[in-house]
C-alpha cells in the first residue's frame, strides 16, 4: 500500500518506535507509584520522553504534559481559559477539536476568514477581530485540510500585546516545522504524538506555559493526602496510570526526529508536494495550493465525488482521505463545504515513487469520472 494519509496518523514509523513500545510493555510498571525496579524503569522511560520533548520544543520538562491526543490537549486548554459567553477568536480553518469544544463551553465564536495561503491577510483578520472582550485566540499552525500555514509567531505577538491568551493547535506541524511556544507567547500548544512526531496512536502532548485546569481527577503518586489535584505540572494533568508503552514509542519517535536535519525534511516534503500538485494540475484536477504550504494537499477530480475518488484510489492500493476531514469550518472558509475534497498528506517516509504511483493511479481514475 502507498500511504498518503499522514495527516490522520503516520503509519510508517521508525522501527525503534515499535521496539520501544514492546520493551515498555514487557519491563515497565506504573511510573511514580512505587520504588521497585520496574516502577523506576517506567519513571525513567516517561521522563526520557518528557525531556526529549522539552528539548525539542524549547521548554522545561514539567511543562510537557502527556495527553491521549491533540483533542484532549485542546479540551484542557479551552476549558481552562473559557467560560460560557466568553468571546473567542479562532481561524476559519479550525478542526472540530476546537469548534465543538468551544460550542460545548457556550463560547461566542468569531472565526476569521482570509484567503487560505495569504499569511498577511490572516494576521490582519485576527488584528481586526481582537477586541477588549476577547478572552482567547485559538489558531492552528497548519491546516489539516489544505496545508496552509498560519503566522502563529506574529499572532502570538499580537495576543501578547493585548494580553489575550493564545492557544496553538500544532497537530499538523509538530515534527515538521519548528514549534516554539515560548517564541509564540502561547499559553498552550497541543499536538498529537502519532502524526509527525511518529509515536503510537493514543499519545499526545500539551505544552503548558500557563497553569491549566485539570479535566481528569485522581491519583498522581504525589501529595496523596490532599483531596485537590496538585498544583504542580505535570501531575496536575496526569491523573491515573499513564500510557507508558505509548509514551516510550513517542520518545523513540522524538529521538529519531532529533537526529534528522529539520530543514532537509521540510524541503523534501515540499518538493514532493510540488511534484504532486504539478502532476494533478496537469491532469486537470482542482488543487488548493499556495506559498508556505506544508505536508497536506487537497484536490478534487473533475465531476467526481470526493469519497468515490478516495475509494477508487484505495482500490488501487493508495490511502488518501476524503470528505470534510473533521474540519467543516475550514471547508466553509474555502468554499468546499458541500462537495468536500480529497486529501493527500505526506510524512518523512514518503517517497517520490509514492507520488509517481499516485499520479499514475490518477490517470487511470480520471476516465471513470
Amino acid at each position: 500500500m502507498i500511504y498518503l494519509d499522514n495527516a490522520a496518523t503516520s503509519l510508517q514509523k521508525p522501527p525503534q518506535v515499535a521496539q520501544a513500545v514492546l520493551r515498555a510493555m514487557q519491563t515497565c510498571a506504573n511510573p511514580g507509584r512505587g520504588g521497585h525496579a520496574s516502577a523506576a524503569r517506567a519513571e525513567e522511560t516517561v521522563y526520557r520522553t518528557r525531556s526529549l520533548a522539552a528539548r525539542y520544543f524549547g521548554l522545561e520538562p514539567e511543562q510537557v504534559c502527556f495527553t491521549a491526543n491533540a483533542t484532549e490537549g485542546l479540551n484542557i486548554a479551552l476549558r481552562t481559559l473559557i467560560q460560557p459567553g466568553d468571546r473567542v477568536v479562532i481561524s476559519g480553518l479550525e478542526h472540530n477539536a476546537v469548534t465543538r469544544t468551544l460550542a460545548a463551553l457556550g463560547a461566542e465564536i468569531e472565526a476569521v476568514k482570509a484567503p487560505l495561503f495569504d499569511q498577511d491577510a490572516w494576521l490582519s483578520g485576527f488584528a481586526a477581530a481582537l477586541s477588549p472582550q476577547t478572552r482567547a485566540v485559538v489558531c492552528l499552525h497548519v491546516s489539516n485540510v489544505f496545508g496552509a500555514q498560519l503566522p502563529v509567531a506574529e499572532l502570538g505577538a499580537l495576543c501578547d500585546a493585548q494580553g489575550v491568551p493564545f492557544v496553538v493547535d500544532a497537530s499538523q506541524s509538530a515534527g515538521l516545522l519548528p514549534v516554539r511556544p515560548s517564541d509564540w507567547n502561547a499559553a498552550f500548544t497541543a499536538m498529537p504524538g502519532h502524526k509527525g512526531l511518529l509515536g503510537p496512536q493514543g499519545t499526545g502532548l500539551l505544552l503548558c506555559r500557563t497553569q491549566p485546569a485539570p479535566i481528569r481527577y485522581g491519583g498522581t503518586g504525589s501529595r496523596s493526602r490532599d483531596q485537590t489535584m496538585p498544583e504542580d505540572l505535570p501531575d496536575r494533568l496526569e491523573a491515573g496510570t499513564l500510557n507508558v508503552p505509548g509514551i516510550a514509542g513517542l520518545g523513540a519517535g522524538l529521538a529519531f526526529l532529533g537526529a534528522q536535519d529539520p530543514a532537509g525534511l521540510l524541503g523534501r516534503e515540499r518538493e514532493l508536494l510540488r511534484y504532486a500538485r504539478a502532476g494533478l494540475e496537469q491532469l486537470g484536477a482542482r488543487v488548493w495550493s499556495g506559498p508556505g504550504q506544508v505536508g497536506v494537499l487537497s484536490f478534487q477530480l473533475p465531476g467526481k465525488d470526493c469519497e468515490e475518488t478516495a475509494a477508487a484510489y484505495a482500490d488501487r492500493g493508495i490511502a488518501l482521505r476524503a470528505g470534510l476531514h473533521c474540519a467543516p469550518l475550514a471547508h466553509q472558509t474555502a468554499g468546499t463545504l458541500t462537495e468536500g475534497t480529497v486529501r493527500l498528506s505526506l510524512s518523512v517516509f514518503s517517497q517520490q515513487s509514492d507520488i509517481t504511483a499516485f499520479l499514475n493511479a490518477t490517470k487511470r481514475i480520471l476516465p471513470l469520472a
Binding site: P31, G34, E60, P61, S222, R223, R225, D226, D232
Partner: protein
Amino acid sequence: MLDMYFTVRSVTPAQKGRDALNRAGVRCRMLRAPRAIAQNGCAYALAVRAVDGQDAALLLDRAGVETEGAWQRLQDGSFMRAWV
C-alpha cells in the same frame, strides 16, 4: 553516606533535580520519600552526602526544583529537619 534528604513533591521534579545534581557532579540517589518525611502523602526524595547539602540546595534552586524540606538522617534511622 547519602544522609541528607531533600523532599520533592513528585517524580518529575525529582528527576529534574537528580539530573541537575548529577550534571554538577553531586552524588545523588532518587527514592520514594520515607513516610517520616513525606509530609503530605506520597513524595520523592533526593539523597546526597551531608557535606554536599549546601551545594545541592543551591543547585536545585537554580534548576527551578522546589523542595518541600531538607532532612538529616540520624544514625538510628530517624530524621531531623535540616536548615540549608
